[in-house]
């Protein structure tokens, strides 16, 4: 299939359907409205179901029901709507249900604004809901990557029985870029012997629950989850990095911000400053180990986000005192200027007075 010019949100919807998603439950919110709109038009074409829920809370609980019933299911929303889904996400994690959740982030806190932001990093990677759980969080930086990660998200969700979040800033959702969509997934659906599909009178009832009143049992669930989280960390961490070896400064950034940082890196390279870039693709599991590849010339690590500094925590943990960690961020929908980032890099590289 050739490249087509598509809006990010629609590309996400289209990729989901190609990945076998057949159930979508959502609620309108800018800047992700084209996702449900696309699904409402195109899911019926493949025998799928679109339901506009009465709220984000209803939507995530419909996802819970459908996932528990064995459906390949997804929802999407944006920042405040995702905040409302936190209890539901915690339940999905506790009941070990596979699903895909798209967050097209906008500025916050509160109602905030509708312009692109990356200020839901904590909410996504630390679990805004209650309890010791994690979900896989993937952050595309181009529409092509968003489309490719969509198939992977559904596969990971089913493989590990875990919710997967596609964390996009508003730019990914709203921009148009040429994308190459893949063929529809024609593999047989994953077996889900645990799903509630009716016993048919032939087996013991299946139960989907996250309730364990006996502390020992609840701890067992948590240990099982933890073991699985370790496995996912080992096997599914994704990252892209460039120029770490000789870099004097390494920048860490994800999503669209990483593209903006690339412009800054180019500006610096042009000035003869070797700069490396670490672009986490999975935000959880976080590619801590990638930082071990940073060469000995590095003077400092700069974390750049469209937020006041949230991934910064992970960068500090990864740096573990080996290099000073710096931060540059813009927030509220303001997009960083590559020239400003380049200036920060130069300061760290010692090229400019602070």
């Amino acid at each position: 299939m050739g490249k087509v010019l598509m809006k990010g949100n629609e590309a996400i919807g289209s990729a989901a359907i190609r990945a076998g998603c057949r159930y979508f439950f959502g609620y309108p919110i800018t800047p992700q409205n084209e996702v449900p709109e696309y699904m409402s038009r195109h899911l019926p074409e493949v025998g799928g179901v679109f339901v506009q829920a009465e709220s984000e809370i209803a939507a995530i609980n419909m996802v819970y029901g459908a996932a528990g019933a064995g459906g390949r299911v997804m929802t999407s929303s944006s920042s405040p709507g995702i905040a409302l889904k936190q209890e539901g996400i915690s339940y999905l994690a506790g009941a070990r249900l596979p699903c895909v959740i798209v967050n097209v982030m906008r500025g916050g806190p509160g109602l905030g604004g509708i312009q692109p932001a990356q200020s839901d990093y904590f909410q996504a990677t630390r679990g805004g809901g209650n309890g010791d759980y994690r979900i896989i969080v993937e952050a595309p930086s181009t529409l092509q990557e968003a489309v490719d990660l969509m198939q992977e998200s559904f596969d990971l969700a089913d493989r590990y029985r875990i919710p997967v979040m596609l964390l996009c800033d508003g730019m990914i959702g709203q921009m148009m870029e040429p994308v190459e969509l893949r063929e529809a997934d024609r593999r047989p659906p994953v077996e889900k012997p645990w799903a509630t599909v009716g016993t048919g009178g032939k087996r013991k009832p299946n139960i989907i629950t996250s309730l364990y009143l006996n502390p020992a049992e609840l701890e067992e669930l948590n240990l099982l989850l933890a073991a699985q989280y370790r496995e996912i960390t080992e096997r599914e961490t994704r990252v892209e990095s460039i120029g770490l070896e000789g870099a004097r400064v390494v920048v860490a950034a994800y999503g669209t911000t990483a593209r903006i940082v690339r412009e800054a890196v180019d500006l610096c390279t042009a000035k003869g400053i070797p700069v490396g870039l670490i672009r986490p693709i999975t935000l959880w599991p976080y590619p801590y180990a990638e930082f071990d590849k940073i060469g000995k010339d590095c003077l400092g690590v700069l974390c750049v986000e469209m937020s006041m500094g949230q991934m910064l925590d992970d960068v500090k943990i990864a740096a573990n005192g080996r290099w000073p960690v710096h931060f540059y961020g813009r927030t509220g929908g303001v997009v960083p200027d590559p020239r400003d980032i380049a200036r920060e890099i130069e300061v760290i590289a010692g090229r400019r007075p602070v």
Binding site: L5, M171, Q174, M176, R259
Partner: protein
């Protein structure tokens, strides 16, 4: 080669569609393209703009902070983007709504009375296409055939009347800036 264009105006003036056509035309030329919109809160009558980059290399950031060309369809957009255009760049102004003049001398300002031109063509809603034609005429970055193909891809080929009206508007804008205009607008 990379061409960065910002198109801005009121919501409802069709600036988003103009930008999409520009991007689609770029893709048809096998270029890398990005189109990034930004809306105000209003469904209609608010402000809206889009950033279009067409390039022969992969595009890093879709955000344009220093456009090669800004096309402004109303006064707030004029005020916002006048200073951002690169020296030597292009500044297309809807002179039907903006009578202000730029103080800058280091770029090229092209006023086009697109509302009047469109109204004269009998279709006030095609002012955006008039402006796109003007852009094509001044910059040479968009040719007529690609514009028509892009229109067909984005709008669907069915609505011939609409396509015709848009092409007429495009031609009118192009003629206006290339001097072929022979309508009745003074100034």
């Amino acid at each position: 080669m990379t061409e960065k264009v910002i198109i801005a105006g009121f919501g409802g003036q069709g600036v988003m569609l103009s930008g999409m056509l520009l991007a689609q035309a770029g893709l048809l030329r096998k270029r890398e393209v990005t189109w990034l919109p930004s809306y105000g809160p209003e469904m209609r009558g608010g402000t809206a703009n889009c950033h279009v980059t067409v390039s022969s290399r992969p595009i890093a950031s879709p955000v344009i902070l220093a456009p090669d060309c800004a096309i402004v369809m109303n006064l707030p957009s004029f005020d916002k983007y006048e200073r951002q255009v690169v020296p030597g760049g292009l500044f297309l102004v809807n002179s039907s709504l903006v009578t202000k003049r730029s103080g800058r001398k280091d770029f090229r300002v092209v006023p086009v009375p697109v509302n009047e031109l469109a109204q004269e063509l009998g279709n006030a809603k095609t002012a955006n296409m008039v402006m796109l034609g003007a852009y094509a005429g001044v910059s040479g970055a968009l040719d007529r055939e690609l514009f028509i193909k892009a229109l067909e891809v984005i709008g669907g080929k069915k609505d011939h009347l609409l396509i015709d009206a848009n092409v007429r508007a495009f031609d009118c804008g192009m003629e206006y800036v290339t001097g072929g205009y022979c309508g009745e607008i003074g100034a």
